[in-house]
């Protein structure tokens, strides 16, 4: 969706300010939100793609005014409620008045280190041969889906070159909304700065974007 998360190329946010010796978390509640989001993700109630979708579905004014873990928390509350895992009253009050739902898995303390060390790969067997070749000119489709997508607005309709072919991966656009993994080929597409930003771009600047196959079409006129 064309939400506030899609920030590439926007202006007016001011300089990047780095905090010296920054701690991993800035408050005790941030620690708990991080861990709750990880542990609930592990249950299988929803996917990582669905969590990203929940975060970017916040109203733009709220998204931009919220700190990072406040966004995570608001999205997590929404997901718990939307999946019927707790009622709004239970979420506010913190005590249970209805029976729990059955979830596929629960993360135990003993499982944390081995499971997170093993990781959660998202590459999958390719469903078909790759449509595009290394070095081929392609154009990112000019599409504006109302649901989750990982194709940033600033490359839509722009032409680039296939620089790497990575194999097939879980397709976030459908997976985020509870559909099957629908794996697709993933490509690194290199865009010239001038193609994206016109004459304002400095000479030689490039931006690479990892694009799923259905985001791409053969270059117009190629």
């Amino acid at each position: 969706m064309n939400g506030a998360q899609d920030l590439g190329g926007m202006m007016g946010f001011g300089p990047v300010v780095s905090e010296p010796d920054e701690p991993v978390f800035h408050a005790a509640w941030e620690r708990r939100v991080f861990a709750l989001a990880m542990a609930m993700g592990f249950t299988g109630a929803w996917s990582l793609d669905a969590s990203r979708s929940a975060r970017e579905s916040l109203p733009p004014a709220e998204y931009l005014a919220s700190s990072y873990y406040a966004i995570w928390f608001a999205a997590l509350e929404n997901q718990v409620r939307a999946h019927g895992l707790a009622t709004p009253d239970e979420i506010v009050g913190g005590t249970s008045s209805t029976a729990p739902r059955a979830l596929p898995r629960v993360l135990t303390a003993e499982a944390v280190a081995p499971r997170f060390r093993a990781g959660f790969p998202s590459d999958r067997a390719a469903p078909a041969p790759a449509r595009f070749r290394l070095g081929e000119a392609v154009t990112a489709r000019n599409e504006h889906p109302s649901g989750h997508t990982r194709l940033p607005r600033y490359v839509r309709g722009r032409q680039g070159l296939v620089e790497r072919v990575h194999g097939a991966f879980v397709f976030p656009d459908t997976h985020a909304h509870g559909a099957s993994e629908n794996p697709q080929w993933l490509y690194t597409i290199g865009f010239d700065g001038t193609e994206l930003w016109g004459g304002e771009a400095e000479a030689g600047q490039r931006v690479t974007v990892a694009c799923f196959e259905s985001y791409l079409q053969p270059a117009q006129g190629a």
């Binding site: 998360q5 899609d6 920030l7 590439g8 190329g9 926007m10 202006m11 946010f13 990047v16 300010v17 780095s18 920054e22 991993v24 800035h26 408050a27 509640w29 620690r31 991080f34 861990a35 709750l36 542990a39 249950t43 990072y68 406040a70 928390f73 997590l76 509350e77 718990v80 707790a86 979420i91 506010v92 009050g93 913190g94 005590t95 729990p100 739902r101 629960v106 993360l107 303390a109 944390v112 280190a113 093993a118 990781g119 959660f120 790969p121 998202s122 590459d123 990982r150 194709l151 940033p152 990575h166 991966f169 690194t188 400095e202 030689g204 600047q205 490039r206 931006v207 690479t208 694009c211």
Partner: protein, 209 residues
């Protein structure tokens, strides 16, 4: 980690309650329902606060600087090369390492959220997740570098890597001059988090007497 919500003080918060109270209430209900275990939350926090961090990536960089064959493996297929050093897992399942040279400087961003190579760098700093960086890195990377006090030669071209899928990028910075005699551990101490994102350069060694 402490986990200090004793049951003699229930927070009957509201949508207007401070976020601390709302988070406590959500944790309480998720624990009571049996969806999460407090000890697992503590273990997750301990893992990402103390075990996983940029010291891991610095080891990878130092090895690549001192072992040409390793460097070649790292650039060709980063995930197994990083695994050779016992580093891998969540947020590093599909790694890509890009090399800075005199001609090309690489900068990593996630314009859409906060994708970041957790296994080698830990959890991202606030600035990496915030609108100023996410908006500007792709359109004005040299201006962003200036915010970090980094000035590149004009002839150096900049490539920005937008982390839009499950690929996670780490920059292999240039090895500083005057480090020929340093061993891997001493070299790793020169490798900053920002150097591996591309918003910094590796530190110069301390002059020796």
């Amino acid at each position: 980690m402490t986990h200090d919500h004793t049951d003699d003080h229930h927070d009957h918060g509201s949508a207007l309650a401070p976020i601390e109270a709302r988070v406590r209430a959500l944790e309480s209900i998720l624990v009571e329902k049996g969806y999460v275990q407090p000890e697992a939350l503590d273990a997750l926090i301990e893992l990402y606060e103390t075990q996983v961090g940029p010291h891991n990536g610095a080891r990878v960089v130092a090895r690549a600087w001192t072992d040409a064959a390793y460097r070649a493996r790292l650039l060709a297929d980063a995930t197994p090369a990083i695994e050779e050093l016992g580093i891998g897992g969540r947020g590093g399942e599909h790694m890509v390492v890009v090399e800075n040279t005199a001609d090309t400087h690489n900068l990593v961003v996630c314009t859409l959220c906060s994708c970041y190579p957790w296994t080698v760098l830990g959890l991202p700093p606030v600035w990496y997740k915030s609108p100023p960086y996410r908006s500007r890195a792709v359109i004005d990377p040299r201006g962003v570098l200036a915010d970090f006090g980094v000035t590149l030669p004009e002839a150096t071209r900049i490539t920005v890597w937008d982390s839009t899928a499950e690929l996670r990028y780490m920059v292999l910075p240039m090895r500083p001059a005057g480090t020929e005699d340093l061993d891997e551990a001493a070299l790793a101490a020169l490798v900053t988090r920002d150097a591996m994102i591309g918003t910094g350069l590796a530190r110069a060694p301390e002059p020796r007497p």
